[in-house]
Symmetry: C2
Subunit: 349 residues, 2 copies
Amino acid sequence: MERTEISKLGEFGLIKHLAEKIAVKHPSTVKGIGDDAAVIDIGEKYLLISTDMLTEGVHFDLTYAPLKHLGYKAVAANVSDICAMNGKATHITVSIGISNRFSLEAVEELYEGINAAAAAYNVDVVGGDTVSSLSGLTVSITVIGEVGKDRIAYRSGAADKELLVVSGDLGAAYMGLQLLEREKAVFESTPGVQPDLAGHDYILERQLKPEARVDAVAMLEQLGIRPTSMIDISDGLASEILHLCDQSGTGCALYEEKIPIDPTVVTAASDFKLDPTLCALSGGEDYELLFTVALADFDKLKGSPHFTVIGHMVEGAAAQLIARDGTAHPLTAQGWDAFFKNRGEETEE
Amino acid sequence: MERTEISKLGEFGLIKHLAEKIAVKHPSTVKGIGDDAAVIDIGEKYLLISTDMLTEGVHFDLTYAPLKHLGYKAVAANVSDICAMNGKATHITVSIGISNRFSLEAVEELYEGINAAAAAYNVDVVGGDTVSSLSGLTVSITVIGEVGKDRIAYRSGAADKELLVVSGDLGAAYMGLQLLEREKAVFESTPGVQPDLAGHDYILERQLKPEARVDAVAMLEQLGIRPTSMIDISDGLASEILHLCDQSGTGCALYEEKIPIDPTVVTAASDFKLDPTLCALSGGEDYELLFTVALADFDKLKGSPHFTVIGHMVEGAAAQLIARDGTAHPLTAQGWDAFFKNRGEETEE
């Protein structure tokens, strides 16, 4: 029998491949696979559904991620998918698979984080499943949300000349992960040594306890802005911009100098000899919102400290990064390392 | 630090323990944890949500369960939870965690079963997640459904003198499992021996490719019957009856002689020296519907070959099994083995 390794397709390749064989037939199904959440017409509003599965050793490492934080983060990541449709999360179900390595106290700690996040985001935990597994911990959460039919934002709605905007700042979650991985390696090679995490609160919190930007969704409504397209940044800015461009059928110009990066990320990146822009482009798990708005909305946005215009959409062109020196480079989801290595000294600015 | 083994609480104990700390706050949340599905008020109708997680080595054994059947069964089990609310499933999301042991072809086979079930039950696959895991296969499905506000059936609605009714027949899925486990053991001790499964189509199909009783839900509506309470039989008749009794605050009388058991199950049980009634009471995964109806509905039901009245509810009494000899025995979720062993010869009838 034929055997094709899944790694050959990659995560997006596999999902695309499987999705091709899936037909939707219900008249109520507005959008199936392919956006941050599925969209179902329930009358006055749209219902949104999204789901995420996290597996131990792949998505989280319990050596440094406390179970409580893991529970919080799992909920936040799901709520973020509803935010990415410009919607409001309302309910979640939580399924966990646990081996006998985990005690009742461990499950309680995980649920403390889940309940804390549910309270913070005002979502009800209405169901779930708690089952045994032969090894490790698996957390699978499904979130339900809602959005007004005149408020929904798909990945596919961006158009020529519209502004590309991001909430918050980028790259911090990735820097937090680098720090935790480094201290884990030190600990493993020299047991007994205490991890050196002092002064890195911001990047650690961004990695271990990220927040979904429900506040940003609310602010956009208050500002009278309806995003023309939207996605959340879970896999890195470059990858998410490419999703918006692909699904909207446009290109874009992303200005490196505009990408919002916290000063502590710049400092930490310097310690790790990493380019901060690379952290923002390729590092994931920031859970900020990336969206486009009509040019006419610029005046409403410009005063807000929560949003940064980082570029604009360009019809009939490729997605490009405009570097600080003004040179243009095709935006790709991966392979930035070589580009940044070639910049040499420049990246230390 | 304290360590309490989860096995000490058991599955239901753990869920109950965790549920105690979960508060629901949304006015739209009609029912959270504690029934076959959560119930959310979306205006004209109720939205239903349920989720199930299946882990390799615990819920399925790929030695004898083909991946295609596993995919089908996972969807059927979820759809069954919506049936158990007297509702209609409309959409599912499917998350799978897979180790590198699984090839693309294996995932495709799993999805063939998922898609076949989605087509059979007329549900749209609208989302999911496909992630790596360090070991084994995990399948987590969430189902969405709907039900008219005047049609919904909770576990808690049963009342004194109402009839206890079951769809189809019971115990076959359990007998199928016994057969598969026996042939697996033979195969493992004598490699190369072909499994002897001939003549056991019915019990094998009931175990490997069970169906959700969407037809039974439709029939009840056609018969003009609204069940007063309902649950699906995933854990064995005794356990499910106890759920209905507990949540409805009643007892019941279950008549052993009325329990519908297929003749092939009786024959197979005899081969295994098992009591067929025990298979029905304690064997799970039949996915039939157990429900109560008003006494006045008896005339509408009695002509149907799809439903069997197996007892009635009794207020202020315990849940009891009335054996063939007329003796009454307290119904318990487990521990029937001793009871049936003591019956000796009788059970061979």
